[in-house]
Amino acid sequence: MVGDLCAMDIVVCVKQIPDPADPGELDPETNTLKRDMKLIMDESDSYGVEMALQLRDAAGEGEVTLVSMAPHEEVNGLRSALAMGADKAILVSDEALAGTDALGTARVLAAAIGRAQADLILAATESSDGYTGTVPEQVAELLELPSVTFAKEIQAEGGEVVVKRQTEAGYDEVRCPMPAVVSVTAGVVEPRYPSFKGIMAAKSKPMDQVGIGDLGIGADQVGWAGGGQQITDVSPAPEREAGEIITDEGDAHERIIALLEELRIV
């Protein structure tokens, strides 16, 4: 709540992904997504970053720490979030992480978050490339914390978060004591664009790079080998064929109605 002057330290999980404008590719060796190109901040994570900044500023005191995992020391996406106003970042980078699945990712993130002493941990509901949507809840379970997923609104109120959680019917109002994990949907807040000043400042913000060994995680717990699942087949999906294409000359609606009549919709 605005005016609630109690320091709030927030961790935001940030994923750095290939630019969605570039088509993805599977590594033919492992059948996992290739991530050796330049990575950017997943747009889904910009909502969590913005939410964290607003909660920190409303509290009047506290720090926003980014936590990310990448196989090859990528910091480009983290710099974007630092430029928005986050205070510092922890990047877990290790060659052993290539091909790590959602549970392995959650183990790494949970261990890194454990170093940050956060009141609140924010994450997107799912990433825009892997979209498993299980990581926030897995992180919560690993840290033995309560959680609220699919938040469309978050307020902090005296040691608790009050969250509007998306449901099938509408939304639930959920109160949860901190520390807690909350996953946010797009639209929870409008992410700001980094200012020029922010972009310059981001270059000198602390970026703590650690390996999995520093977190006490063994190479056998991560990577594709640590996953406990096996890909049995990769094949092209059947294509859907294009039909009739017309150019509107002011009467296209008649053609649409004719089709709807044919289909007995009208």
Binding site: E137, E141, V148
Partner: protein, 320 residues
């Protein structure tokens, strides 16, 4: 395959369609199908049984607690106590993902996610997930010991009754949750929605960036109403705050398979196409003749939605 458990969800005393879909598929794959519910089992036993569940493991009413930690802990305790399903299926829903994620950590096993097809091969369950906007299918099996966890997308299977007797209710006690159970639901709000639900409607009319501004979304709602359908949206305009997340169609939103899908001002990002390419008929209206959506449309109209939609709405109004 021996036994499959299905996490079944319900509201207002009715089992969710996704849960009925999972039960239907499960009974084709396994000798025994049992349901798990995070509420009282008795009121749901008949419907679950009629779709193939012989037993419903019920936690009882969770009060103001969330399903995620409670149901995951209850299932984990049951497995520790000797229950040995070969797989546990969850719908890709708000609560389904929570329960599966928590349970995954408790079992130290992965969740195989975004599944649209489940088959049996060499004695194990294989789930198929579409990637890259549905152009490539990846099939995955759980390689560890114990139960495989699968999160399945709604509408992947048709729900059909088996004519089975009501499921026998069995108590599934929830252990002490400690801090993980501390979140409390203090109020529930149902959003006003007239007309059919997005993922159950026979007609879905969706709008995208091509509408130009939030105010123009009313055209989508008007057309949906005239066709007795539901109004959907691309992720772009949900992210822009024009419409709530509940309208989103796509990989990160709802998967829809209506008889007719009308895409208005939607270019057809792969993330959107995955959510609607299973529609029986697709009509697309877009200014850009090169838009990918035309590649899958049965009827593509290269034109301005601001010109085509008002005429279409007017013509349909004149008929009704």
């Amino acid at each position: 395959m021996g036994t499959i458990w299905v996490f079944a969800e319900a509201s207002g005393g009715k089992v969710a369609s996704i849960s009925l879909e999972l039960l239907t598929r499960a009974r084709e794959l396994a000798d025994t199908v049992e349901a798990v519910v995070g509420t009282d089992g008795e009121p749901l036993a008949a419907e679950l049984g009629a779709h193939g569940a012989t037993v419903v493991h019920a936690t009882g009413d969770l009060g103001d607690g969330l399903a995620g930690p409670a149901v995951a802990s209850a299932i984990a305790a049951a497995l520790e106590g000797g229950a040995a399903p070969d797989a546990v299926l969850f719908g890709t829903t708000y609560d389904g993902r929570d329960v599966a994620g928590r349970l995954s950590v408790k079992l130290g096993a992965p969740v195989i996610t975004n599944i649209v097809e489940l088959e049996q091969a060499n004695g194990s369950l294989v789930g198929t997930e579409p990637v890259f906007g549905g152009t490539v299918n990846v099939s995955t099996r759980f390689s560890g010991s114990g139960a495989g966890l699968f999160l399945v997308r709604p509408k992947s299977f048709a729900a059909e009754e088996s004519g089975g007797a009501p499921a026998a209710v069995s108590a599934l006690p929830v252990p002490d949750l400690g801090a993980t159970g501390a979140a409390r639901v203090v109020d529930r709000f149902a959003e006003e929605s007239s007309g059919p639900k997005l993922d159950e409607a026979g007609v879905v009319v969706s709008g995208g960036r091509g509408l130009g501004e939030a105010g123009k979304y009313s055209m989508i709602e008007d057309l949906a109403r005239l066709l007795r359908g539901a109004a959907g949206a691309s992720r772009a305009i949900v992210d822009a705050g024009w419409v709530p997340y509940s309208h989103q169609v796509g990989q990160t939103g709802k998967v829809v398979k209506p008889d007719v899908y009308v895409a208005c001002g939607i270019s057809g990002a792969t993330q959107h196409m995955v959510g609607m390419k299973g529609s029986k008929n697709i009509i697309a209206i877009n200014k850009d003749a090169e838009a990918p959506i035309f590649g899958i449309a049965d009827l593509g109209v290269v034109g301005d939605v601001h010109k085509v939609l008002p005429k279409l709405i007017e013509a349909l109004q004149a008929r009704s």
